[in-house]
């Protein structure tokens, strides 16, 4: 594979895609050099700051009157829209591409769906802060976040009434994977996490010693007076955790079908580095197998990746960013609203006959500021808002009202570039005769570009 292709592939996977000009300038760079730049640019951590008020505090009164509840629903909905728009914008404009891409990975790995957007934003910022750092640090910070403590009911986990929800998901979904622990391990470790709580107001973690069960527990064959950190240490000492995370990273960055050998190599690196994330990512992005044909242009972009891709590439600004939320609903992925704690299943699950048609239509609709004649279903959590506002469904935004910066996009294309080069830049899978025929038939470059982003090929990265 030549350098240009490698650089392009790396940007498509470790980021949200490269600018044409950037690609052109870096066409002779090695993968190593490009990767160094990607890490360098991701050193900056830009937290989201869209939400400034914890609305739960307003709802503390159980006897809140009808009007007050309705007003809170409206505010909550505004917060959701603001937080969603803020992250979409950040992903679409940031230079810290790798950090945002990994934040999106953790958003799905540590999936959390609660109606408190103040806590959701905190969790998102925790995931961004440690996105490229140490997995143990990240795991503890996530576990002690107000969002996760609420979501997995650890607030209710006390000495007198242990709640196993957090302990179970910690092992099943966050670290070891199903089949690598027993029901007894769940029960015992739940006791170790008793007393982990947050203060309700700022969401700050507090350890409630009075709620904590400090009697001995037997966990994974070891007995001791374990607390939550001890349990996490035991889980991380088990190499299965390194393997489980490596498998998920492989499926996210390389191929939906894990290659046992490659995953084991990753797990070795990850484990030996004490769960530091940078070494294992560097290992993946510099491995020869990462650049093999079968691992290029074969991943189905998630709806969010697709929307970010089109927004980034064409420098699109939205007069009403809510339209991006509407597209997320239509395509089946609303940020901060994963279907369950296991996250979005991804891959071919994104594709059905209707979602595929919308995916093919949406890019041209955005680029032409076109008419929208479809709407996604409200997520189940939206029903309270809709009911309180006496609506059956969301109002459908009919016009995209977006401005693509075509000049900027076209300026990036070198004067002598052939049509096929432009096509090869836009699409990750290799060009075939059918695409080439369309490319040569198009009336002008703009038409050609719009057609190319309306292909099944564009759905892949």
């Amino acid at each position: 594979m030549d350098n240009l292709k490698q650089v392009k592939h790396l940007y498509a996977r470790a980021g949200f895609g490269a600018d044409f000009a950037q690609l052109h300038n870096q066409r002779n760079w090695s993968a190593k050099k490009t990767l160094k730049k990607l890490f360098k640019e991701s050193e900056e951590v830009q937290p989201l700051a869209a939400i400034t008020e914890n609305l739960d505090l307003r709802q503390l009164r159980k006897d809140a009157a009808e009007g007050e509840r309705k007003a809170i629903q409206e505010l909550r909905n505004q917060q959701e829209r603001a937080l969603n728009a803020a992250w979409m914008k950040q992903m679409s404009t940031t230079n810290a591409q790798l950090r945002e891409k990994m934040t999106l990975f953790w958003h799905n790995h540590f999936a959390c769906n609660i109606g408190n957007y103040y806590f959701q934003q905190q969790l998102n910022n925790v995931q961004r802060m440690h996105a490229l750092g140490n997995f143990k640090t990240l795991l503890i910070a996530v576990s002690q976040s107000a969002a996760m403590l609420n979501f997995l009911n650890n607030q209710q986990n006390s000495k007198a009434h242990p709640n196993e929800n957090f302990a179970r998901e910690l092992m099943e979904l966050f670290t070891l994977g199903r089949g690598n622990y027993t029901e007894q391990d769940v029960k015992e470790s739940a006791r170790a996490f008793t007393g982990w709580a947050h203060n309700g107001k700022s969401g700050e973690f507090v350890f409630k010693a009075g709620n904590h069960d400090d009697l001995p527990k037997t966990f994974m064959g070891q007995t001791g007076n374990f607390n939550g950190e001890n349990i996490i240490d035991i889980i991380l000492a088990n190499k299965q955790t390194a393997k489980y995370i490596s498998t998920k990273l492989y499926r996210y960055f390389v191929n939906e079908t894990p290659d046992e050998t490659h995953v084991n190599q990753m797990a070795d690196v990850f484990y030996k580095a004490g769960y530091e994330l940078k070494p294992v990512l560097e290992f993946v992005f510099t491995a020869n197998w990462f650049y093999e044909d079968k691992n290029v242009g074969n991943l189905i972009k998630s709806p969010v990746e697709l929307l970010v891709d089109i927004t980034r590439r064409f420098h699109v600004s939205y007069d009403n960013p809510d339209v991006l939320l509407q597209f997320q609903r239509t395509l089946g992925q609303v940020l901060f609203r994963p279907p369950n704690v296991a996250g979005w299943p991804g891959g071919r699950n994104w594709i059905d006959s209707s979602s595929l048609m919308y995916r093919i239509k949406i890019p041209s609709t955005i680029l032409n500021a076109g008419i929208i004649d479809f709407a996604g279903k409200a997520t189940p959590e939206d029903e309270a808002y809709l009911a309180s506002q006496r609506k059956q469904q969301f109002n459908v935004i009919k016009r995209v009202q977006a401005n693509a910066d075509w000049n900027k996009f076209l300026e990036g294309i070198p004067l002598k570039a052939q049509r096929e080069q432009v096509a090869a830049y836009l699409l990750e899978p290799p060009l075939n005769a059918r695409i080439v025929a369309e490319v040569n038939k198009a009336a002008d470059i703009k038409t050609m570009v719009i057609q190319l982003v309306s292909t099944p090929e564009y759905q892949l990265c």
Partner: protein, 399 residues
């Protein structure tokens, strides 16, 4: 004839010519006999419909004690027996009920109930246990089961813009059709068509790109079939002029035109009534009841009611005690409705919920919803229910 035109008229119309073998050309499949074709219509009420104000246990004093301001007053209730009666907004269903075309199953739920909307909906749509996460829906797995009558995407149609998880299997998925003409026109837009009829087929492999093209070809083909078939029938029966009424009218069109579809899926939202429940729920129930009554009468008229079974569910019911905002909060077990011309049991299936015997203020479930699914799969669709539900359920005898 130009090459492009030739391809246009041959590839998809006659099937096998240029399409590799793994893309089964379903146009060429023999139309199965339309008569006796059983249909299942699923109606989802999103948001957690308050079952206790839908089928009201007016004969139980606890109901009025716990619901000072949101209870339905006894004289308004359409009484079905000494204990339970319908919300007055469901008055259109009284006639259906009296004809023996309606069955109410009380206290349906599942062990360890989850009170979050998305999770409980997820559980109902995937038919999972409450501590298990599945990425396929129960109807999707029915499609995957490769039975004689479920080979095509249009075996299961969701009358909506987008497809619910319930309809997604690992190999097969249903199709979302809000409006058959719109779907047809979308797939016939020039560029979409060009992609379908390109000069080569080297993209049709079993990798992801091949999968995308395969899905496109199926959509193209299904859109054609659904539009051409459904336009042969005009619904003459009156339907209420609501979005939901139109959706059921479309289902009637599909069924009566003889579409080879077995499952239809329709949703109605707006049931998450934490605030000012009576008006809001009343409005939604009226939309529901009027449309369903019109639909059932229409099918009776066209002779299709005996071949149709309609099931209505919501992801959970609401707490027995109301809240301070004249609303109700998330609860657990709920009622499920069935409609059809040949019900195994009409009327009320089992005992009214026991309001004196609660768990943390919530109803205890008496019937697992998967027993209902098992019955639908085994007795109505004639497939192996346990392999689709990944467990053995005894089933009920409403079919």
């Amino acid at each position: 004839m130009k090459r492009r035109d030739f391809l246009k008229s041959s590839t998809l119309a006659s099937g096998a010519f240029l399409i590799p073998a793994f893309l089964k050309p379903f146009e060429s499949m023999a139309m199965s006999a339309v008569s006796g074709y059983k249909n299942l219509v699923i109606i989802q009420l999103s948001g957690g419909n308050d079952g206790l104000n839908t089928v009201v246990p007016f004969g139980d004093d606890v109901y009025y004690q716990k619901r000072k301001t949101v209870a339905i007053t006894p004289n308004e209730i359409i009484k079905l027996n000494d204990i339970q009666g319908l919300n007055p907004n469901l008055s259109a269903l009284k006639e259906i009920y009296d004809q023996g075309w309606m069955n109410i199953i009380n206290s349906v739920g599942y062990p360890n109930p989850d009170r979050s909307h998305f999770r409980s909906m997820d559980i109902w749509q995937t038919a999972s246990n409450s501590n298990e996460f599945l990425s396929t829906g129960w109807i999707g797995r029915y499609l995957d089961s490769n039975c004689q009558t479920c080979q095509n995407p249009y075996t299961a149609i969701e009358v909506d813009d987008t497809l619910s998880l319930a309809m997604k299997g690992s190999k097969m998925k249903g199709i979302a059709v809000q409006d058959p003409n719109k779907l047809y026109q979308t797939t016939r837009e020039p560029f979409f068509k060009d992609l379908m009829h390109g000069p080569d087929n080297d993209h049709l492999h079993e990798d992801n790109l091949g999968y995308l093209y395969k899905t496109m070809i199926e959509t193209y083909s299904s859109a054609d079939y659904i539009q051409k078939t459904s336009k042969t029938y005009n619904v003459v029966a009156p339907y209420p002029a609501t979005g939901f009424g139109n959706q059921l009218k479309n289902v009637s069109k599909f069924i009566n035109s003889g579409l080879n579809t077995r499952i239809y899926y329709v949703s109605l939202g707006g049931f998450d009534t934490h605030v000012g429940q009576q008006n809001q729920q009343g409005r939604q129930l009226k939309i529901y009841g009027d449309a369903v009554a019109a639909f059932v009468k229409d099918l009776k008229q066209t002779g299709k009611l005996d071949d149709t079974l309609i099931m209505t569910f919501s992801e959970f019911g609401r707490r027995v005690e109301q809240n301070a905002s004249n609303g109700t909060d998330h609860g657990t077990a709920n009622n499920v409705f069935l409609f059809g011309g040949k019900l195994g049991k009409a009327g009320i299936y089992n005992n009214a919920p026991d309001l004196a015997n609660l768990e943390n203020g919530d109803l205890k479930y008496q019937i697992d919803f998967r027993d209902i699914y098992a019955t639908l799969l085994k007795k109505w669709l004639n497939v192996n229910d346990s392999s689709i539900l990944n467990a053995q359920f005894t089933g009920l005898n409403f079919v």
